[in-house]
């Protein structure tokens, strides 16, 4: 991965300033510490910070075509570049590097805007066609690689991270109240909105075309599912599983292409084990794996990790993450996420990428995406149970299935079935709603908003859920309820949070690139045509993956209950002495200055926490949500001058 930044001037006789581009690209130096490159001409300025992975000697960017009329800066990887290069050479294109970047300019010459459909990879691309005075900003299909933009009167700024845009804007940003309201419902704002007023992301699967003073959005790809049962694959189950396996093996193999060694994350769960097994069995790569451990036994998965390491004989290293490690890394984490978070889960991912980098690795494969593509999350199970229950809302037996949902939680004292029913029964009468699957989670998350100040609530103009509904495809109601849940999950939690706050941002904070075989678009397109019953057989999640990969993974991994990745929340900040920033950021005066939260409610929350009585999800999410929003405000608004305009260097850079 790398960092990109740029500016386009709508006025034709105007040339971007090199100093401004320098200031912008310096903000993302952590994404690409191996060198900067610039291209400045009339109307356009492109800047690039490089993390060298492919063609280390010759791959400096920007890259141009044969007559230097087309220029590109690119963050990401094109995994099928070898095949594309052969194909383009046959059409007579001349290459001056061995990099994957160079195929982009020639593909554009050959196919125009359709070039993007040829790419298998993860990418944020800015392409300048000087003959047509045309700028293209394109982002990968599922949102692995970030790309943001901001429009002022006569310029458009764009960059891998919002920090670069803030440096370009030259004035302090403000919070977008509706963006925060959405984040406190869905864990991130609804794309393309961000929590920064006036800053948007290029949505996954979209491109922006800027030409003749007009900006056009074009969607080139989306998750799509059958609208009638006959459209699902009807070949025998074993044939479908063989195909799934073949695609996954190829998706993994092409993600090992690099001129530096490639490692893998190993959580001890099914997905990362499958990826590690494929690398072990089907490639010549020496397998080097990394994992996290926690002191809290409920969160720690090291026993499962050891089982896989022994089975695959990988060269493995793990790093133990304590509550104080999380507290120490929290502010830097928010500097990188650029948005508030509701759980501390991103923080250990940043610690892990730092550990990988210290071990001299800069590329890792992970199992991310499997749960969305193949239906692994509890939310899909919940949906199935709730749908079944909704057919007979008065049944006393049906909600008993809920007990099968969370076997890993300590329910020894929890006989409070009525309360579980109340939670999962939220809007049980609405099974045909497009977002039926997500009602319990969104309702619970939205409780954090009870801490909003009265003034802030008045600044909200939209309803978060109607915004989400408006972003859904027109034909979603015709899809199977399981597929609807998959779509919403992929577009909200995965795109906005898992691949961002918990993914790219935590990896790139330490200049480490993540690669995700389960998010290969060929695999997604194939899996979307598999019937939901193959993804979840009764209540057995990811049945197809377990069966397809049975011969390659240790039996214990197939048998274990799925454990979601979690990290300590409240205990990170209130075990022993709290870090000084907790009192500072949550002081009455700072809460009132920022204006988002009701200071008196926060003081009562702190009182409850300090009395050791805050044990529920709601209080944990509230504390992390409020603290991270205050940290966000401190980094990007209170300290704007220091961090984005002065020469002084921010401690997190």
């Amino acid at each position: 991965m790398c960092g990109i930044a740029g500016v386009f001037h709508f006025e034709s006789a105007s040339r971007p300033d090199k100093n401004l581009l320098q200031a912008m690209i310096t903000q993302v130096k952590h994404r690409g510490p191996d060198g900067f490159g610039f291209h400045i001409s009339n109307q356009i300025g492109l800047a690039h910070s490089r993390l060298s992975i492919i063609d280390i000697a010759g791959g400096d960017q920007p890259i141009h075509n044969e007559d230097k009329t087309i220029w590109v800066i690119f963050n990401g990887e094109i995994f099928n570049y070898i095949e594309l290069r052969e194909q383009l050479a046959m059409h007579g294109h001349q290459f001056y590097t061995k990099s994957d970047t160079e195929v982009i300019v020639h593909l554009y010459e050959q196919y125009g805007d359709d070039f993007v459909n040829q790419l298998n990879g993860q990418f944020a691309i800015s392409l300048w066609d000087s003959k047509k005075n045309r700028l293209i900003l394109a982002r990968d299909r599922v949102g692995i690689t970030p790309l943001f933009y901001h429009l002022d009167n006569n310029r458009i700024f764009f960059a891998s991270e919002i920090k670069s845009i803030l440096a370009g804007m030259g004035k302090s940003p403000t919070l977008n109240p509706d963006g925060l309201d959405q984040l406190m419902t869905f864990w991130s704002a609804v794309s393309p909105v961000t929590v920064f007023q006036g800053v948007y992301e290029v949505s996954p699967g979209e491109m922006l075309i800027i030409e003749n003073n007009k900006i056009t959005k074009k969607r080139y790809w989306d998750w799509a599912f059958p609208i009638s049962p006959s459209e699902y694959l009807n070949s025998p189950e074993n044939d479908q599983l063989d195909q799934l396996r073949d695609i996954l093996i190829n998706a993994t193999k092409i993600r090992l292409r690099a001129d530096v060694p490639v490692g893998a994350y190993l959580s001890g769960g099914l997905d990362s084990t499958v990826i590690s097994s494929i690398i072990h069995k089907y490639s010549d790569a020496n397998l080097r794996t990394f994992s996290l451990q926690f002191n809290d036994k409920e969160l720690d998965e090291s026993a499962h990790q050891d089982e896989v390491v022994n089975y695959l004989k990988t060269q493995h290293s793990s790093i133990r993450c304590s509550t104080s490690d999380i507290a120490e890394n929290f502010l830097a984490t928010i500097w990188h996420t650029e948005q508030p978070i509701l759980r501390t889960a991103p923080v250990p991912m940043k610690i892990l990428s730092g550990f990988v980098r210290r071990n001299n690795y800069k590329v890792v494969l992970t199992g991310e995406g499997s749960d969305e593509v193949l239906g692994g999350y509890d939310i899909f199970k919940e949906t199935k149970i709730r749908k079944f229950w909704a057919k007979r809302p008065d049944s006393s037996m049906r909600p008993l299935l809920l007990k099968r949902l969370y076997p890993y939680l300590d329910l020894s004292r929890n006989n409070a079935r009525k309360y579980l029913e109340a939670f999962f029964g939220t809007d049980i009468g609405l099974p045909e709603t497009d977002y039926f699957s997500h009602i319990p989670r969104w309702t619970t998350t939205a409780k954090v908003k009870e801490f909003f100040s009265t003034d802030f609530k008045l600044r909200l103009s939209d309803n978060a859920i109607s915004n989400m509904v408006a972003s859904l495809p027109n034909n979603i109601s015709q899809w199977h309820i399981f597929n609807r849940a998959q779509y919403i999950e992929a577009k909200s939690l995965m795109g906005g949070y898992l691949l961002s706050s918990q993914g790219d941002r935590m990896l790139m904070a330490n200049s480490v690139e993540g690669r995700f075989p389960f998010l290969d678009h060929r695999l997604i397109e194939f899996a979307n045509k598999m019937h939901p019953n193959l993804k979840m057989k009764v209540l057995n999640e990811k049945y197809c993956l377990k069966k397809a990969m049975k011969a390659d993974v240790p039996p214990g991994v197939l048998a274990r209950y799925k454990q979601p990745y979690r990290a300590p929340d409240i205990p990170a900040f209130f075990t022993g002495k709290s870090p000084d920033y907790v009192d500072h950021l949550l002081s009455d005066v700072n809460l009132k200055n920022a204006g988002y939260f009701d200071a008196s409610k926060i003081q009562l929350l702190l009182k409850k926490i300090r009395a050791g009585r805050a044990i529920g999800y709601k209080d944990n999410m509230a504390l992390v949500g409020v603290l991270s929003t205050q940290a966000w405000h401190d980094h990007f608004i209170t300290n704007y001058q220091v961090n984005f305009t002065d020469k002084s260097v921010n401690t997190f850079k």
């Binding site: 929890n414 309360y419 109340a422 409850k608 529920g616 709601k618």
Partner: protein, 81 residues
């Protein structure tokens, strides 16, 4: 402080995060108001056990005993009697 005042203060401060006495009536259902979930009810049980010095058994963890200020007060009085 009597049982009811203690409970009121606790529920208001710990679940509604307010000292406004009007925020909750003595007969308001916690489940219907939506501020107590399955972990929230465990917090209430720990509080009752801690304050009133008796154990709440699994069979007693039902809304009939725990779903409003008045229901908890009556439950505590029955247990203490």
């Amino acid at each position: 402080m009597d049982t009811k005042s203690k409970l009121r203060t606790y529920i208001l401060e710990s679940f509604l995060f307010t000292n406004d006495q009007n925020a909750l009536a003595d007969d308001d259902s916690f489940l219907e108001k939506g501020f107590i979930d399955s972990t929230g009810i465990l917090e209430v049980i720990y509080f009752i056990e801690d304050q009133f010095k008796f154990k709440v058994s699994d069979d007693e963890m039902v809304p009939e005993n725990l779903d409003s200020i008045n229901k908890i007060v009556a439950f505590v009085q029955r247990k203490k009697a």
